[in-house]
């Protein structure tokens, strides 16, 4: 599973962080950082994170 976040769309709402804290985080400046190839056991959480992104900036491959 590979995660792609369209950083031109991302506005740092941070909703993904609540769904998949193992994968997404906001850094000290409040900007998104993420694990682009997380463990497959986190798939459900990552799908949910993509669902709740207000800008629909998160896509999954594989």
């Amino acid at each position: 599973m590979k995660i792609i976040v369209d950083m031109d769309r991302c506005q740092d709402h941070g909703q993904c962080v609540f769904s998949a804290p193992e994968v997404f985080r906001l850094n000290a400046e409040g900007h998104l950082e993420y694990e682009s190839v997380p463990d497959d056991s986190l798939r459900d959480a990552v799908e949910e994170a993509a669902d709740v992104c207000p800008l629909q900036a998160i896509t999954l491959e594989g």
């Binding site: 740092d12 941070g14 906001l26 993509a50 207000p54 629909q56």
Partner: protein, 393 residues
């Protein structure tokens, strides 16, 4: 259950289809929608879609691969239903049978029941609405926004940024009064005024007429007798649940579709409802059934409703509602249910004139938080709300 029909092809309908698959449903899935488009995200309609040429593709929802085989029936509203016989009638007269039904028809904008100036009057609910409105917004155009809820305020901000002359008319004493309270409402009004938006508060519209403010003007006539000349009129006065297709089946449709705490339509094991058409109790707060018009709710309700329909175990449904609003360069974010704590509003942190967190309390207990800016504080306040209104039942 061999065939499930989802009525409504917006966010709630899509999420319901995805969650039915995630919960193990392998039968036939049909999603019926009245708009001609696959599900798309509505928040940009009052902002980006008005400000520049944005296509459906740019606002379409990402879809899970599990729903690639869904049978989409788009541009075709369901007009009636026989829930005892388990079939639906579509606008073209065709019928659709189901074993399980998901009600996801959402809302339509309320219109002012006044005749006149029809070619200048707009609402902002669908992509086609926003596209039509965009074509009439330009620098110097006189825009009158009726209603000062979130849609009204966002559209006012967008139109102003495009250079329009914007007047907002609302019945309440301040914009966003009901959701946010008078103090935060007043602060947001000041920010709009600093951008050049004019507010006419405590007034309602009594007529749409011509030739009052000047001989050639098209006017919005107000309850104080004044008239405001308008090139573009935007009605942002709330929404009505789309439930007429369920008439005649003995359901309580007085405000959306009445559901139990598991989102089952009352007394109907084969029907669930999702999104802002569903009226359900959230036992995180109390046992009162309410509709919730927040962006987070379609996704939350779909997850639970899919499992209820399939008889799959799932945790109790106790969502923490949330939404956001972008106006100019400020972001407002809401968590919990501020409306339940409208009688006891306190600034928890910061200053309303810059960035702040405002708490809404019921019986001394925190039930909602609204943040103006202050993004870094979100996780802290979200946790505070989760702890203050524990999800144990």
């Amino acid at each position: 259950m061999r065939r499930i029909v989802v009525v409504g092809a917006s966010m709630g309908g899509l999420r319901a289809a995805e969650q039915l698959r995630a919960a193990g449903f392998t039968g036939q899935l049909t999603v019926v929608g009245d708009e001609p488009y696959r599900p798309y995200n509505r928040p940009p309609l009052s902002k980006e879609v008005l400000a520049s040429e944005v296509t459906h593709a740019a606002v379409a929802f990402r879809m899970r691969s599990s729903v690639e085989d869904v049978d989409w029936r788009l541009g075709m509203p369901v007009v009636s239903s026989d829930l005892a016989a388990r079939w639906l009638t579509l606008l073209d007269g065709s019928t659709l049978a189901y074993d399980g039904l998901v009600v996801a028809t959402g809302l339509r904008p309320r219109r002012l029941p006044l005749p006149g100036l029809e070619d200048r009057r707009h609402v902002v609910r669908t992509l086609d609405d926003a596209t039509r409105l965009r074509a009439s917004l330009a620098p110097g155009v006189r825009v009158v926004v009726i209603g000062a809820g979130f849609v009204g305020c966002e559209v006012a901000a967008t139109a102003r940024r495009l250079g329009a002359e914007v007047t907002v008319v609302c019945a309440a004493a301040e914009p966003l009064m009901t959701p946010l309270g008078p103090d935060l409402g007043a602060e947001l009004r000041r920010r709009h005024e600093a951008e050049g938006v004019r507010f006419l508060l405590g007034r309602t519209v009594t007529a749409f007429s011509t030739g009052i403010s000047s001989r050639t003007a098209a006017d919005v006539v107000l309850s104080d007798g004044s008239a405001v000349a308008a090139d573009v009129i935007i009605e942002a006065v709330g929404s009505t649940p789309c439930v007429s297709w369920l008439d005649g089946n003995g359901l309580d449709l007085s405000d959306g579709v009445l559901c139990d705490a598991d989102l089952r339509v009352e007394g109907r094991p084969d029907i669930v409802a999702v999104g802002d058409v569903a009226r359900f109790p959230n036992v995180r707060y109390d046992d009162v059934c309410r509709r919730v018009e927040h962006w987070s709710i379609p996704t939350d309700t779909a997850r639970k409703a899919a499992r209820t329909l399939l008889g799959v175990d799932a945790p109790p449904f106790v969502p923490l509602p949330s939404f956001w609003s972008d106006q100019y360069d400020m972001r407002i974010q809401s968590f919990g249910v501020p409306g339940l704590g409208a009688d006891d509003i306190r600034v928890l942190e910061g200053d309303m004139t810059s960035e702040c967190a405002v708490g809404y309390h019921r019986d001394g207990e925190l039930v909602g938080v609204v943040l103006l800016g202050l993004a870094s504080a979100i996780p802290r306040y979200r946790k505070l709300l989760m702890d203050a209104t524990p999800a144990s039942v």
